[in-house]
Amino acid sequence: MHTRTRITAAAFIAAGALLVTGCAGGSSAAPVDVTATPEYSGTLSILTKFAGDPLQPYFEDLATEYTALHPDVSFDLIQETDQSVKDKTKTLTASGALPDIYFSFTGNWADNFIRGGLAADLTDVIGPDTDWGQTFGPASLGAFETDGKYYGVPLYNNGKFMGYNKAIFDEAGVSVPTSFEELIDSCPTIRAAGYEPIAFGNKDGWPGLHYLQQLFAYNVPADVLEADFDPETATLDDPGYLKALEQFKTLVDTCTDTGDGTNGVLYTTAQEALAGGKAAMYYQEILEFDTVTAEGNALTTDNFGFFALPVPAGAQGDPDAIEGAPEGYLVNAKSPRAALAIDFLKFVTDKTNAQTLAAPPYGQPSTVVGAVSAETSSNAVVDGISQVNEASQIVAWLDMVTVPEVADAWLAGGEAIISGSATPDEVLTSVRDASESAE
């Protein structure tokens, strides 16, 4: 064999070896003991979704207070925004660098970490029968339950409502709509009064999904909707989907000033339009209530009101469903500091810190029982969370409740409906295709 041939052969063998080692995946580690007594030393790494104002200081302050109690404990805080936390989490997961504590949505998002053995089983410390578990609302705690085991620490609850400016409604002479059709009918009147009826920014795609999921919950029977989230059981042939997509298109065309260009607007721009008194309504999460009425905004707490997206006439789904979900934190199943992580999370969710979280400027409706009250939180947050608690069911975010391929198809479909480049039928077909290929 010539030298060059030998070198080539060696290179291929080396490449083959790399491929084989690349194919060998997975690692098994002994489960962490979450009930162990924590050792108060070392650096605790945490990935939060609290980057930016007004949320950024919450974990920073808690870390400082915890270090004051336990001087040998330090923190490595990775704070991300709602948009960037998704990419950051996956990057850290793929590179095997998940922190000790990390943010998680519920639904398929959390299930992936549980299925992959990356989330510690916290049943022994946070199960419904434990002291810590009983401090949370049962529904919130159950949001991170899988096969009877509890994996997450729910930090705050959330729900989606149409926030509105009472002063603009009064000026335009419109009242809170009681049906979807009334909402649509009110838009030209509000526009005639000189305001954008509904501010909407869909640059990131997910704000459109929030409308769609609430409309699906109204138009599609609950059991059908639930089955359709899972590609194994999905048929996606209920006529309610088409009705919901058509209603969404009507709302965009009639009630937004940006119309088919809404995909070019940031959701924060829309939020500012309501906060700045330029728009009458903005579909928002409870988490945003205190932001739109923050000091200095044209919209004051007295003029701020909200209502659930009104139900379309003749809708065949659940008229009392509200879209939302708790959000919380998982503990890395491979963390050498799992016990310390749990101790810190207990500190984060004690009554005092939970009340701080629920109060302005944070305004995050804590899942801890009694933390959200008229004494600690704004009236809007208290009322919002009451409505979430009274809802017949909480429908989780569409991009979190189903598998990523299907969520991505809905996201592109929502954008296509807005821009008018696809009909509801075409969107539904593309989602069905995505669901079939994801099976």
């Binding site: 080396a14 490449a15 992959g116 795609g205 940006t258 995909n263 821009s419 480049s421």
Partner: protein, 295 residues
């Protein structure tokens, strides 16, 4: 004996570079090819060998083809502006007699290149913003409000909007490089052409263009390769939307991996990008080597 020592020493000098190249370029390349033959679950860390399935999936994926088309459009427009447009502009600037004006113009055109792509993307996002953006306001103020539109919000204009920003950002850099190449052309050639009665247009085509051929070749490689590696500006301005209309190979790779959890497929897209850019580079290197002009 001395020759052997010399050879060993020579090898020792290049060894660090070889090790670094191997570790950070070729090893990841081979590993990426390995990943492209697998279905990889980042959560469990497990993977399954699927052969060429990810490559076959590429063939049936309409978004992959539209992303490839967007890269091609990007390349064509970039070559037109950043290569041919830049040569013309550089020739005009270098023909200006005033040294001060020449320097000033070079600096003015170069400034956008000093801005990071992410910042430039954000800047243009706000210029294109449908409600508050400068572009629509400018069109409005000159009575062209009928042309105002949500530039990045509509599938028909979003990709062109991004490409326009990219030309603004990269145009000055290539102009500067061409200006340097033009400065290297001996002035005697221009003088001789002038004595022969050759006008400025013909001088450009018969003197300037042939003698900057090497730089033109290099800029073609850099521009076309760059067009197939576009990522930042698209992510900042549209994230590939609306309705995937601005996906390019880089963003579709990212979305496939980090949003759709299909890392094997993402690795296959990465291999396509590598093959395309490598092929372009090899072809153009070959062409420019054959036509090298020396003086």
């Amino acid at each position: 004996m001395q020759t052997a020592v010399k050879k060993a020493l020579g090898f020792a000098w290049v060894l660090p570079a070889l090790v670094l190249l191997g570790a950070f370029v070729y090893l990841p390349l081979v590993q990426n090819f390995g990943f492209s033959l697998q279905k990889w679950d980042i959560y469990s860390g497990t993977s399954e060998f699927v052969g060429l399935k990810n490559y076959l999936k590429l063939v049936d994926d309409p978004i992959f083809w539209s992303a490839l088309g967007n890269n091609l459009l990007y390349a064509v427009i970039s070559v037109a502006f950043q290569v041919f447009g830049a040569i013309v502009l550089a020739a005009i600037i270098e023909s200006i007699r005033s040294d001060r004006w020449r320097r000033s113009l070079r600096a003015i055109y170069f400034v956008p290149s000093a801005i990071s792509l992410t910042v430039a993307g954000l800047l243009f996002y706000f210029i294109y913003e449908p409600n508050l953006g400068l572009l629509n306001a400018a069109l409005d103020s000159v009575g062209l409000d009928a042309l105002a539109r949500p530039w990045l919000g509509q599938e028909s204009t979003a990709m062109l909007g991004i490409i326009a920003m990219s030309q603004w950002q990269g145009f000055g850099y290539s102009t500067l490089l061409f200006a340097i190449a033009i400065q290297r052309i001996p002035s005697e050639l221009y003088e001789a052409a002038s004595i022969d009665g050759v006008g400025p247009f013909r001088r450009f085509f018969t003197v300037t263009l042939p003698l900057v051929r090497e730089m033109t070749g290099l800029m073609m490689i850099v521009t076309i390769s760059g067009a197939f590696q576009v990522f930042n500006e698209v992510m900042v301005m549209t994230s590939g939307g609306p309705n995937n209309s601005t996906q390019v190979l880089g963003t579709w790779l990212y979305r496939s991996g980090f949003v759709r959890n299909d890392f094997g497929y993402a690795a296959a897209i990465a291999m396509v990008i590598f093959i395309v850019t490598l092929a372009i580079a090899l072809v153009q290197l070959w062409i420019t080597r054959r036509r090298r002009v020396e003086w």
